[in-house]
């Protein structure tokens, strides 16, 4: 697909995603019932969990593209890995700012070593490392390779981190006031959550495509500048 086509697709998906976000807000404010134990604060759940889902999907996409990039050295794969990492970074930031707001009500403290929150914090730092490595090499091609290695090792390490934060928590019980989610989530809450996941995924892919198109245009620009200079 041409860069302009990707851009158009990205813009369209982003608009759908933004409309969906308004819809999600409507659902979670007017439609879904209030959770009995935690009350209104539990509504943060409908943006917090989808954002977490999106950021983990992002590191998956980024690592996958990075791996194939190292193999085939197709610039488009590196652009996709970069776009996904940037999206993952934004959505991980959402998780990290909404988590404490919820936690303050649910657990009485802004930060707890809740497994998902801890995992996301480390994921956020993995993304940070990704961008720092990318930006600190003299030869951009080298930066791309280094960043791909960071994304790959990060993705491989995440299951281990997950296991360890769960294990750590089982050793040190947290002051849990109420369980946020369980297998028996009422139907309307589940529906709202699934809508949230869908909306965030669409939004992610919309912006992902725009970011990808941006990187394609930058490459085009660089190629042109090189041609005029030689």
């Amino acid at each position: 697909m041409s860069t302009a086509g990707v851009r158009r697709g990205g813009t369209a998906l982003t608009l759908i995603g933004l409309a969906g976000l308004i819809g999600l807000f409507w659902l979670s404010f007017f439609w879904v019932s209030t959770e009995v134990n935690q009350g209104v604060a539990q509504r943060i759940f409908y943006v917090h969990v989808p954002a977490a889902w999106t950021s983990f999907m992002a590191i998956g996409i980024s690592a996958l593209c990075s791996g194939v990039y190292l193999w085939l050295r197709d610039e488009r794969l590196d652009r996709a890995a970069l776009a996904a990492a940037e999206g993952g970074f934004v959505f991980a930031t959402i998780v990290l700012v909404t988590g404490p707001l919820w936690g303050k009500i649910a657990w009485g403290t802004y930060w707890t070593w809740e497994p998902r929150l801890t995992l996301t914090l480390l994921l956020w730092f993995i993304f940070l490392g990704y961008f720092m490595v990318r930006g600190s090499t003299e030869d951009p091609e080298k930066g791309k390779r280094f960043a791909a290695v960071v994304a790959l090792v990060g993705a491989i390490d995440i299951p281990f981190i997950h296991v360890s934060v769960l294990w750590f928590r089982s050793l040190h019980p947290q002051p849990v006031v109420a369980k946020a989610e369980g297998p028996t989530l009422p139907q309307d809450m589940l529906t709202t959550l699934l809508v949230g996941v869908l909306v965030f995924t669409v939004l992610f892919f919309g912006l992902f495509l725009m970011r990808y198109a941006l990187e394609g245009l930058r490459a085009e620009l660089q190629l042109r500048e090189r041609r005029t200079s030689s």
């Binding site: 190292l70 480390l122 994921l123 730092f125 993995i126 940070l128 490392g129 720092m132 490595v133 600190s136 090499t137 003299e138 080298k142 930066g143 390779r145 280094f146 791909a148 290695v149 960071v150 790959l152 090792v153 990060g154 491989i156 390490d157 281990f160 981190i161 296991v163 360890s164 934060v165 294990w167 750590f168 050793l171």
Partner: protein, 226 residues
């Protein structure tokens, strides 16, 4: 295969000889372990904290910080006179170079962690004799996982303009599993609990080390290519 082992052994031997002749990293890491023990002793309030309870955590933090201090300089050894270029244009496979560096760094970091265990036990008057073989095994697996990751990223950070300052940002988030399971197991072993209780931890530590070494061996060639 025998050529592979010969190349690997040559790099290991060369690095160990250089290490013992210059003693740069040996002295720096050894001094780090002892001085960390001194500072930790004065940073703890003995009235409210029992050294026995925090010893494992302190040993693991010393392994991580002191280890990074040494491992970060892995490729500086090769930088003088451009020797790394010579190594890279030789027929030695890149994974052999990586594995050799892992072996050498493991010797250093494991030595550091065992030294830290001894010095801390002496300074903080904690008996670590119970389950000592188990403790040493846990430290060995932890040191291996640590070295596998940090050697790979030492190569990355050496290739950037930021150098070693970048290393903690890249490596610390990835080390959480090692610290959680390693420090947890060490703490219980020092407390005199049976080894069977930490067998699960040891398995995860082992899996982590194997995954880290495998990932490093595969990915190293992409880091050092020019």
């Amino acid at each position: 295969m025998s050529t592979y082992l010969r190349q690997l052994a040559a790099i290991v031997r060369k690095d160990l000889v250089l290490e013992f002749r210059s003693k740069d990293r040996l002295v720096a890491m050894g001094a780090f372990a002892v001085l960390a023990a001194v500072l930790f002793n004065f940073s703890l309030d003995n009235a409210s904290v029992r050294p026995r309870d925090v010893l494992a955590g302190l040993v693991w933090m010393t392994l991580v910080f002191g280890g990074l201090l040494g491992v970060g300089r892995t490729f500086h050894l090769e930088a003088e006179d451009d020797a790394f270029r010579g190594l890279m244009t030789s027929p030695a496979p890149k994974d052999a170079v990586y594995l050799a560096k892992v072996v050498v760094n493991f010797v250093l970091v494991y030595g550091l962690s065992v030294l830290a265990l001894g010095v801390f036990s002496l300074f903080l008057a904690v008996d670590v004799g119970a389950n000592l073989p188990g403790t040493l095994l846990v430290l060995a697996l932890g040191a291996l996982g640590f070295v596998a990751l940090s050697t790979l990223f030492a190569a990355v950070s050496t290739g950037t303009t930021m150098g070693e300052t970048l290393l903690p940002v890249l490596v610390f988030p990835l080390l959480l599993p090692m610290v959680v399971f390693g420090a947890g197991a060490t703490g219980r072993l020092i407390a005199g609990r049976p080894f069977a209780e930490v067998a699960g931890n040891v398995r995860v530590l082992g899996a982590f080390a194997v995954a880290a070494v495998a990932a490093g061996a595969v990915l190293f060639r992409f880091v050092v290519e020019e």
